[in-house]
């Protein structure tokens, strides 16, 4: 009998402890979250942008049909939850994706949200509507969508040319908000209207962005914050000093470099800082349409000369990842296993042996100790581009290649690459979604506008489609690894490393989750609150 009482007492105590924990985890209402913004975004329209300078401040204004769970660091299919859609179903042999929509949702200007808004948004993205975006950088995401049809006000279907399971992942990206039909693309650039947890207040270019709580938000009890204010501070030293001095509650996400992180921790030891991969690869773009890189031997020699770990230790004090096109495991879902990666020429651990092999290839191409190959290594005039370019030049010296740094202003970078006015380029590629359908088609398919090197291999492209239709994840992974391996062996766009970066916030800021395999999808901020 005594033991029964003891058990009951323990149960009561556990319940009390549990309820206390639950109470402690409950968010508090109120407060303005103050953040600095790294630069002034060109406009406020997420659909017309391709930088997270737009996502971070404006993602809280919107909702998607579906979204990656905002409190889970890793974006994956199992973590996709409904937002403006209440549920979804694949029908018609996985060629139709139908969403039942949430009812009673209002746009920030009071107008009701309906299926017509979803159709409008995707018709514009597919270039099928009267109104056009000035820029439409993710048009290729919807190439498999025939049309979007509505069935009443609260049901919408995406009718596909062929099954594409990853469409759901693309729809869950922070880059895929639903826009209202009744607001023009021009107005969305200057005064965005959404259904999201925060309403747009003002955007003063080069100064600040202000959001306020949406009191009519369909998710009851959210958001916790009264508003979010971004102060635009392009000077990184000033911004970090202001965070250290307590002027800001949070740094701009994933913008604190590893060396700067040390400064923050030494000056503000109470700050909470996390370091995560940001799914941005640093890679080499090769102009393979002109000499000397039209010679596959020289391209392979260059890939063999890379000492990837040296890049990571010099630039990030060892905090970075070596991988192929897809972000390496464990944060990346599709990265090749280590042993497979190391079987690719240039990825083996013996750098000296790789370079000996590279020298032989260079000699085969007519170069050697007495005849060096002179190349220009072009890159953007930004430290994250310039620094690895300098290390690359240093490493290429070991295989008879004399590199000269060619620093290009951002305004001229893309036109220069597009007209193939370069030999070798040091480039950064950010992946919006950790899914092969986004990366392979955008960066490696024949004719894609983001395929800067014009790499075109019809055989591999067929494999892109095979993996894209595969619903068995294990099978799809194997296909993806094979494709990724081939892309590296072909020296299509040699990946040097995948970076990791830091985000810091003051200890009273709660409910922040920094995504570990994307830089674009985790900024709804409706679960963030302040314990002060």
């Amino acid at each position: 009998m005594r033991s029964v009482w003891a058990l009951a007492a323990m149960a009561a105590l556990s319940l009390l402890a549990f309820s206390t924990i639950a109470f402690a985890d409950e968010g508090k209402q109120g407060g303005i979250l103050r953040m600095y913004h790294r630069d002034s975004p060109g406009n406020a329209s997420i659909h017309e942008g391709a930088t997270y300078s737009i996502n971070v401040p404006f993602m809280p204004v919107f909702n998607n049909l579906v979204i990656y769970k905002q409190d889970q660091a890793q974006n994956k299919m199992e973590n996709i939850v409904p937002e403006l859609a209440e549920s979804w179903a694949w029908v018609n042999d996985n060629k139709t994706l139908t969403f039942k929509l949430r009812q009673g949702v209002k746009w920030h200007d009071g107008k009701p949200f309906t299926s017509a808004d979803v159709k409008c948004t995707f018709d514009m993205l597919m270039g099928k509507s009267q109104q056009k975006f000035r820029q439409n950088p993710r048009k290729s995401w919807y190439e498999q969508v025939n049309d979007v049809s509505t069935n009443g006000d609260f049901e919408v279907s995406f009718n596909l040319k062929r099954p594409q399971p990853s469409l759901l992942a693309l729809l869950a990206s922070g880059y895929t908000p639903v826009y209202p039909c009744h607001v023009s693309p021009g107005d969305m650039r200057t005064h965005p209207i959404g259904t999201g947890p925060f309403k747009f207040v003002e955007f003063k270019a080069n100064e600040s962005i202000k959001l306020t709580r949406n009191t009519d938000y369909w998710r009851k009890g959210r958001p916790y914050l009264d508003g979010i204010e971004f102060t635009i501070i392009p000077n990184r030293s000033t911004a970090i000093l202001a965070f250290v001095a307590g002027k800001f509650d949070m740094t701009f996400p994933t913008e604190v470099s590893i060396p700067l992180l040390k400064d923050v921790k030494s000056q503000a030891p109470n700050a909470v800082c996390v370091v995560e991969p940001n799914n941005v690869s640093t890679n080499i773009i090769v102009n393979s349409s002109a000499a000397p890189f039209d010679n596959i031997d020289i391209r392979r020699a260059m890939a063999l000369a890379l000492d990837r770990k040296a890049f990571i230790s010099i630039m990030f004090e060892g905090q970075g990842d070596v991988g192929g096109t897809m972000l390496p495991q464990p944060n990346g879902l599709w990265g090749m296993p280590k042993e497979m990666l190391e079987s690719i020429p240039g990825y083996g651990p013996d750098v000296n042996a790789n370079r000996e092999e590279a020298k032989k290839l260079m000699q085969k191409a007519g170069y050697g100790p007495d005849k060096h190959l002179a190349v220009k290594v072009s890159t953007r005039n930004i430290p994250v581009y310039r620094d690895p370019a300098v290390i690359l030049i240093d490493q290429l010296k070991s295989i008879y290649i004399d590199g000269e740094l060619d620093v290009v202003e951002t305004a001229n970078w893309f036109p220069k690459v597009a007209r193939k006015d370069y030999m070798l380029g040091l480039n950064l590629t950010g992946n919006a979604v950790d899914d092969p359908d986004q990366s392979f088609y955008e960066n490696y398919s024949c004719g894609s506008e983001r395929n800067y090197t014009n790499y075109c291999n019809k055989e591999i492209e067929k494999l892109f489609d095979v993996q894209s239709q595969e619903t068995d994840i294990a099978k799809r992974k194997k296909l993806v690894w094979d494709i990724d391996k081939k892309l590296q062996e072909d020296v299509a766009r040699p990946i040097i490393f995948h970076a990791r970066t830091g985000t810091c916030w003051q200890p009273y800021v709660k409910g922040v989750t920094v995504m570990s395999n994307s830089s674009y999808n985790g900024y709804r901020y409706e679960d963030v609150w302040m314990d002060k």
Partner: protein, 315 residues
Amino acid sequence: MFAYLVRRLFLMLVTLFGISVVIFFLLRIVPGNIVDILFAAAGYVDPADKANLEKELGIDQPLIVQYWHWISGFLRGDFGYSYVSEKPALQEILPRIPITARLAGLALLFSASIGIPLGVISAVKQGTRLDYALRVVSLSGLSLPSFWLGLLVLTASVAMFGQMPIFNPNPQSFGEALATYCIPAMVVGFRSSALTMRITRSSMLEVLRQDYIRTARAKGASDAAVNYQHALKNAILPVITVIGIEAAFLIGGLIVTETVFNIPGVARFLVEAIRWRDYPIVQNLVMLIAVVVVSANFIVDMLYAVFDPRIRYTD
């Protein structure tokens, strides 16, 4: 005096016309335009989309037509629309002017109120330890770059007080308001105060060697009367010139200081607009700055004529 004024006004208009031509065409020579930049940021280029946007912004038209649209608009007070924010350019520029004007005014005030007295002291105490010390300070003022000095001030204030004088549009206290403008103004003004001090010193030394100064002393005038009534009045002319020129050059220091202290003024806005190739903002802003600088020069010329009547007759 009237003929002098008319001649100066005419020259001012010719100068402004020349500046407008130079600004417009130099900006077009810089590679890339807003459309290139927007598409570069998006990482793709669709020739049809690009052509549509160029047409929408009017940058597909011949340069001379673009120039005429701009300059006629400027003269009418129609500054057009910012390519980036899509708001009226005037609406973007106007709120930033008082911020920079306050900062520049305070910087000049700081520069004159520190530079002139210290220059006089340095000249009067020529060859003493005080003179050497002041010359070292002025030399450091000329050698320290504003961005370094600015960052030093910020770092020191965070390290020592856990606070930083970053721009606050809604200051809660007088101290905060003071920090908003005074500290950045001192950083900008430090360089020009050093210059003012050196010019005052050398000008004073030259005047102090003149016969009429010796005469004044021989007649029993006090040191203060000799230094401030006789010498300084005659030594001030080159100092006014330098302050006038410094007002024009101040924009360079302001760009750096507004960036470091995150002050949303005209100077930082101009740099950002150049980065985006936001032609309506850059052209109109540079033109407004040119008007201010040319007017400042005009005022200095007029002051010259007032202080030294010989100028208005001989020029």
